[in-house]
């Protein structure tokens, strides 16, 4: 009897719960503010989706999504211009010793951290030491730094082990933390001795910066919500976003829904063309973009048969239908010319560019040691599951290679698995389709990460080139402090690399996003639409401070759609 009563109570409760659910679901949506008079600070928000997770600790984060967060939360000594040069930022000026080993910076006085304390040279010194001690994030760019000192409150000196020509440009990746705040949040014991965990745990979800935005809420697997720092030294435009939100990329259909509901302002850069076309049909939404200095490559393993044969690689390079790639698959992009994207300072515009030419491809194939036994040597190819468009390139490449009698085995792999594969020459496939981005705005960044032997084993060099001459030339270029001379060496390196044909340089990426053009001003997007040549360093294309948001125009759109 009791059991039966229990069941009845349970059924009753579940019915009540269901009814409540139904009521909650079917009740009318919350009325949205419709008149400008009702605009609240949270309406002036810039929301965007990106890959996830996002690390906001300057000594940890280094990918696209991290960079977007970091440039908004932290200040750097210098700031990149859209043309790839840099300007003063936290530092007002700097001097370089004639031997290129000592850099002295003069800091801007009166700059405040988010907690109100002043930014001093001691903070800069601490930030660099912390970065180098932890060794993650962008630390590799500064491994040349042997010492950093703060001779007075507003002066800081860096000493390098050997000259590093692009040092000033690399500093766009050096974020300054509040020493006192980090020290107040050390977790002991930790792996860094007296420094405990060096504040790593706390900095996962908090910031200690002086940038234009400060963390309001950080949900590790969900989103970063940052709020305008009113006392930011650079000042504010009245229409700048009050809030900036970066959230994990959901499904393209969800993105479309959010854009239509005006619940996000900017999409990520990997939306498929079909989705971008659909988004453009939404009133007030437009797409815009620019060449971002990234390129897409088919990396050919130079130590594994059959791609270890230079003639075989050239045959593949000649057989790809580049025209179809840049007109049908990625219509806004441009065929790459060599390893360095065309708008990256130091690019060689005269380097040889492969075109589809089946006669030349067959000629090269005949010279290959694998000619006549192609059946025994299929080409394994991986493409990144997170970028669906790459599948089209993989299939096109497969079809093009089949015209030569070469069999290509295509595998879709999550990026994590591709990274794991790249760790050893045995597991790296013959061909890997990978996007690569420069870490500082100069050819040296790409040349180092892509072809220097020190980067073998990373996803950025699935070629396993290991060429001593290339290594030496890259090292020589990076040691050259004179920019013009350095660029000359870069140009020669590009010729050397093209001659070796370790890669099929497919295209220079046109970073295209959809955005709420009716109520958002996006500086890089507008410059791109105006046809200006721009090169935003990774992350700086979403520098929220320079955006403008007009919520009253959004209200009008919402009102019109009701």
């Amino acid at each position: 009897m009791t059991g039966r009563v229990g069941i009845r109570v349970l059924v009753f409760l579940t019915l009540v719960a269901l009814l409540a659910t139904g009521v909650a679901g079917c009740r009318k949506p919350e009325p949205k503010p419709q008149a400008p008079a009702e605009i609240k600070p949270e309406d002036r928000i810039l929301r965007m989706d990106e890959d996830w997770p996002t690390y906001i600790d300057p000594a940890v984060g280094n990918d696209f999504s991290d960079s977007i967060a970091l440039v908004n939360l932290y200040d750097t000594l210098v700031f990149p211009n859209l043309d790839g040069s840099v300007r003063a930022h936290l530092a007002t000026s700097w001097d370089v010793s004639p031997d290129g080993l000592k850099y002295s910076f003069h800091l801007r006085p009166g700059v405040k951290f988010h907690n109100g304390q002043e930014v001093t040279a001691e903070d800069v010194e601490f930030s660099m030491k912390r970065l180098l001690t932890i060794g993650e994030g962008f630390a590799y760019l500064f491994k040349n730094v042997s010492d950093v000192k703060a001779p007075d409150k507003y002066a800081v000196e860096f000493t390098l082990k050997e000259p590093f020509g692009p040092f000033i440009k690399a500093l766009v990746r050096f974020y300054v933390l509040n020493k006192k705040e980090v020290l107040d949040h050390l977790k002991k014991p930790g792996q860094y001795g007296d420094m405990g965990d060096y504040g790593k745990e706390w900095l996962l979800t908090h910031d200690a910066g002086s940038g234009p935005y400060k963390v309001k809420e950080m949900k590790m697997e969900e989103y970063l919500l940052a709020e305008k720092f009113n006392e930011w030294w650079g000042g504010w435009d009245k229409d700048a976003p009050v809030y900036f939100k970066e959230f994990a990329s959901p499904d393209p259909v969800t993105i479309r829904t959010l854009m239509a509901r005006r619940e996000t302002e900017l999409t990520d850069e990997f939306q498929p063309e079909e989705n971008l076309a659909a988004l453009e049909k939404i009133e007030g939404v437009q797409t815009a973009g620019f060449f971002n200095g990234n390129n897409l490559n088919i990396m050919l393993h130079t130590k594994k048969p059959p791609t270890d044969d230079i003639h075989f690689r050239r045959a593949l390079a000649y057989c790809l239908d580049y025209e179809t790639v840049v007109t049908k698959i990625w219509p806004s992009c441009k065929q790459a010319r060599g390893p360095v994207p065309h708008n990256l300072p130091g690019h060689n515009p005269n380097v040889y560019q492969f075109k589809r030419d089946l006669d030349k491809a067959r000629e090269e194939l005949k010279k290959s040691k694998y000619y006549g036994q192609l059946d025994k040597y299929p080409v394994t190819l991986s493409w990144c599951a997170e970028v669906p468009l790459e599948e089209k390139l993989a299939l096109l490449f497969q079809a093009n290679a089949a015209e030569l009698g070469i069999k290509v085995e295509v595998t879709k792999k999550p990026f994590g698995a591709m990274i794991a594969d790249a760790q050893s020459p045995e597991t790296t496939p013959n061909a890997s389709i990978v996007y690569v981005a420069p870490h500082y705005p100069e050819a040296g960044s790409i040349l180092t990460s892509r072809y220097h032997s020190s980067t073998c084993g990373s996803w950025e060099q699935c070629e396993w080139l290991q060429n001593k001459d290339v290594d030496a030339a890259i090292e020589q270029a990076l040691r050259t402090t004179d920019e013009q001379k350095r660029f000359e060496v870069y140009q020669k390196i590009q010729e050397m690399i093209v001659e070796l044909c370790p890669t099929i340089w497919v295209l220079d990426q046109f970073e295209k996003r959809a955005y709420q053009a009716a109520y958002v001003y996006w500086p890089a997007g507008e410059a791109g639409k105006a046809g200006k040549s721009i090169l935003p360093v990774m992350g700086y294309g979403v520098y929220a401070h320079d955006y403008r948001v007009y919520p009253e125009k959004k209200m009008e759109l919402l009102k019109a759609s009701k």
Binding site: A17, L18, P53, T254, A420, Q423, T427
Partner: protein
């Protein structure tokens, strides 16, 4: 067999299963190619930093020592650190598990009530238009993956007729309750945050229903066929002959035994939802344990993988024990024979 002995026996078997699972998942997580420490720190981290992380994770030790240390940690509630979120796996699980639990519980409710009711009505009016329509709808529900429903729901209720939120757990501007249990609904009620309660409930509806539809359709079909089978049994005919009203026969005498297969299968479906919810979580950008587990697998986050799988294992075995108890309640033969014979 007493209920106590029945439960103890089931618990002992479950512990064996979990011990086997721990060995299996520990080994699988480690034999997948790729160095987790290198993957976590990135290609350019210096070798000393990668070595330090390997040491911190005990990856420099022999496999059996690693397993011993891991099990030791497990009993202390230390599941290690996630390479992806860079914080203790237990903290991640505490944050993400309640979120998925909320979806799964609501799904279970929809699945049970909807499935049993539809099955009952179909069996009551066999081969009627209602039964035929339910059959078609049920087949559609079974063959359509939950993420497809999720996308369809986003399009319908998020885009064409925007009455429900499309992503997340809570709208911006809605004050979240303090975290006590991690269950937003419960915490909102405990702290009297009714606006947060309604908002969280609204966020749960689409993902929960999307997840529930497949199981609900299956439950409807199983309930119907089970009821139909029992309806033709002698005891049912005898009850009709005694003049007992059909409604009473159906609800009082036929439904209970007919629910045994439904409950058994539905419970497994519900347990499986914890692992299968990841695509729905992706579509709705919902921070749950399923999505977390999948991301861990894709990034070879070994501590998170083992932690999530063990938790899911515990949930799965726990639900199985509950199912056995429910089945024992529904069918006294199971209770009396200790589950050895289900005539």
């Amino acid at each position: 067999m007493s209920v106590g002995r029945f439960v103890v026996r089931r618990l002992a078997l479950s512990l064996l299963v979990l011990a086997g699972l721990s060995v299996l998942i520990f080994l699988i997580a480690r034999v997948v190619p790729g160095d987790p420490a290198r993957l976590a720190l990135g290609p350019r981290a210096p070798e000393w930093a990668v070595d330090n992380l390997r040491k911190e994770m005990n990856l420099d030790k022999p496999l059996e020592v690693q397993y011993y240390l891991w099990i030791k940690g497990l009993f202390r509630g230390d599941l290690g650190k996630s390479l992806l979120t860079r914080r203790p796996v237990l903290d991640d699980i505490k944050e993400f598990l309640p979120a998925t639990c909320e979806i799964v519980l609501l799904s279970a409710l929809v699945m049970a009530l909807g499935g049993i009711t539809l099955g009952l009505l179909s069996a009551s009016y066999p081969n009627s238009w209602f039964d035929n329509v339910t059959r078609v709808v049920a087949y559609l529900g079974i063959v359509t993956p939950s993420f497809v429903w999720a996308v369809v729901f986003v399009l319908i209720f998020g885009y064409l007729w925007p009455i429900l939120p499309a992503i997340g757990r809570l709208e911006m501007g809605v004050e979240a309750p303090p975290v006590l249990t991690g269950f937003l609904l419960l915490d909102s009620l405990i702290f009297g945050k009714y606006e947060a309660f309604w908002d969280a409930l609204r966020h749960l509806i689409l993902p929960s229903v999307a997840l529930a539809l497949g199981g609900m359709a299956q439950a409807a079909r199983i309930t119907r066929s089970s009821l139909m089978e029992n309806m033709s049994k002698d005891y049912a005919l005898a009850q009709v002959a005694y003049g007992i009203p059909w409604r009473v026969i159906l609800l009082k005498y036929l439904l209970k035994p007919s629910l045994i297969p439904t409950v058994s299968i539905m419970a497994l479906d519900i347990a499986a939802l914890f692992a299968n919810a990841f695509l729905v979580e992706l579509v709705f950008n919902y921070p749950g344990i399923s999505g977390y587990g999948i991301r861990a697998m894709l990034n070879k986050d070994i501590n998170a993988i083992t932690g999530v799988i063990m938790i899911l294992g515990v949930i799965f075995t726990g639900i199985n024990i509950i199912v056995d108890l429910i089945v024992a309640y529904l069918d006294p033969r199971v209770r009396l024979l200790g589950g050895n014979q289900r005539a």
